[in-house]
Amino acid sequence: MAIAQPLLDKKTSERVKSQLETGGFNLAEGAFKWALIGTLVFALLVLTVLVYDVVVDGFPVFSDRLDTFMANPSRTRADETGIFQGLRGTFWIGVFVILLTFPIGIAAAIYLEEYATDNWLTRTININIRNLAGVPSVVYGILGLTIFVGILKGVYGDVALSRGNTTTAGGLTLAALALPVVIITSAEAIRAVPSSLREAAYGVGATKWEVIKSHILPYAAPGILTGTLLSLARALGEAAPLILVGAVQGKLGPRTGFFELQQLGEKFTAMPIVITDMAKQPGSEWQPVTAAAIVVLLLVVLTFNAAAVILRNRFERKRQG
């Protein structure tokens, strides 16, 4: 056997070599990659410049009077005004979203994915939930004004100076706004649970509820959590619906403390409203105050986003066993 015999003559070998060795560079491939990097850098650059600008503008407020800025109600003077009521309103709105939207949204998603039969009614509901997620937030404001403010008018009676434009109405409105997104993301997370896992659980004699509780929900938890926390962050940043529901722009007495339940029946405002209001004030002395308020709102929202990421990673590690 002539094992050592060369397979081909030298000329063929040279030709194949030149075909194989293209130099490893493909123009279209490289251009596409750099175009992608370019867009990413551009997007990040815009964001960075914005955040940097706001932080620099607002910094004097944080260094000079962090305590009064956080604790004071809105005042007519820029060097005295604070964001206490805005934070309080945003806190209570967050409570509404967490307590109402999360359970209702996740339950609705479980029902749609696991229990509902596939018929025209289910399909119509599914399509409409998707549509609702795309409805402009102002429309939710009108909904809140007609339904929640209308219903709440008089419920709190003598407690309130309000005519139904209470924290409760604002919270309910933003809870409704966040609901479709929570349902959609939760349903998608549940749908992504591999069917082999369901079969394994049913196969050892689990009931539907046991399969959902012990296998589907734990597996879908990272996705559900991310979706819910992101929708919460979105709800906390909304201004338009709150303006329609009647959040107070301008002066609002401190009346109740941060965590007092009485606040639910009181007039309210929230961080996005406070920021809009500050930005509208004449005079350059309002600029740093506005920037500082923006930084605070950004921090609140980023905290939830970070929590979403951390919890997601933790659950995913747990999913690996």
Binding site: S196, R198, E199, A201, Y202, V204, G205, G321
Partner: protein, 299 residues
């Protein structure tokens, strides 16, 4: 536990009608057991079973038993409805909204699709091992205890059950020192044996295996086949396999399925061509199609 009562009843009636107990000369219980065994008592029976997905009849008119302490194999080309039939036995097809079963699927003489039958209870008695190993993303121990736990077995019995189940699936020695590690860290073959252990932990009578070795290498396959031979002492097994050699090696009885063009729907419907002792199917089948398939001339 409605089935429990019905099963007792079925056992009673099968005893009273069995020839041994009717025989005045040997009325002993052992005698009756032997007589029944030699007659190869069917634990599960399929009578004229057809399975539909919507209006499409996927497989039609299947009549075959799963005999006690035997391995029954289903062979045939892809898409001939073997898995569909298998899944109709422990009502896994209930999970597919459009699936519908016609004919009689009975277990210990009870119609499994009867009105009052709880599919959850059925699946505890007729366990299943799937094509791809699908352990829960939990510890090895939790994988085994999950079934018994939801079945309401007391916590103090779990440890014994874990060891017993893992031993009967021939994986105890490999995992006994890491019971609390994730089951996902095991190799494919180990995962599949863990799945068998998990199925065994609910103490079923019947084990359904849907191509249990198709994702495994030959060595792991060999171990599972050895394991099946041991398991059949305690369980009645039905296996779906693409691998004819496997069916020939492990099974006692064998059903050959194929697809035929359905004149009504113009689509291919699966059907059982022949069911017999494995030896006969592979050496002297009565149907020409079976012979062509097992000799490798088709499929």
């Amino acid at each position: 536990m409605a089935i429990e009562a019905q099963r007792m009843q079925a056992e009673e009636s099968s005893k009273s009608t069995s020839p041994a107990s009717g025989d005045a000369v040997s009325p002993s219980v052992e005698g009756s057991a032997v007589a029944v065994k030699s007659e190869s008592e069917a634990v599960v029976r399929l009578d004229d079973v057809s399975v539909y997905y919507g209006s499409f009849r996927a497989v039609r008119d299947v009549t075959m038993p799963i005999n006690k302490n035997e391995i029954t194999a289903m062979i045939g080309p892809s898409g001939c409805g073997k898995s569909t039939v298998l899944r109709s036995i422990n009502r896994m097809n209930d999970l597919i909204p459009t699936a519908r079963v016609e004919g009689l699927v009975s277990y210990m003489g009870i119609d499994l699709y009867g009105e009052d039958v709880d599919p959850v209870e059925v699946r505890r008695r007729i366990g299943m091992v799937f094509q791809k190993p699908n352990p829960f993303p939990k510890s090895i121990r939790d994988n085994i205890t999950y079934g018994p736990r939801i079945a309401g077995i007391a916590k103090n019995e779990w440890d014994d059950l874990v060891e017993q189940s893992l031993r009967s699936a021939a994986i105890w020695d490999e995992v006994k020192d890491r019971l609390d590690d994730s089951a996902l860290g095991l190799s494919g073959g180990q995962q599949q044996r863990l799945c068998i252990a998990r199925a065994v932990a609910t103490k079923p009578d019947v084990l359904l295996m849907d191509e249990p070795c198709s994702a495994l290498d030959p060595i792991a396959t060999g171990r599972i086949e050895d394991l099946m031979q041991e398991l059949k002492n305690d369980y009645s097994i039905m296996i779906v396999t693409h691998n004819m050699q496997q069916a020939a090696r492990v099974s006692d009885r064998c059903g050959f399925f194929t697809t035929e063009l359905d004149s009504q729907s113009d689509r291919r419907t699966g059907q059982l061509v022949e069911f017999d002792e494995t030896e006969k199917i592979f050496s002297n089948p009565s149907d020409e199609r079976t012979e062509n398939y097992v000799t490798g001339r088709f499929g």
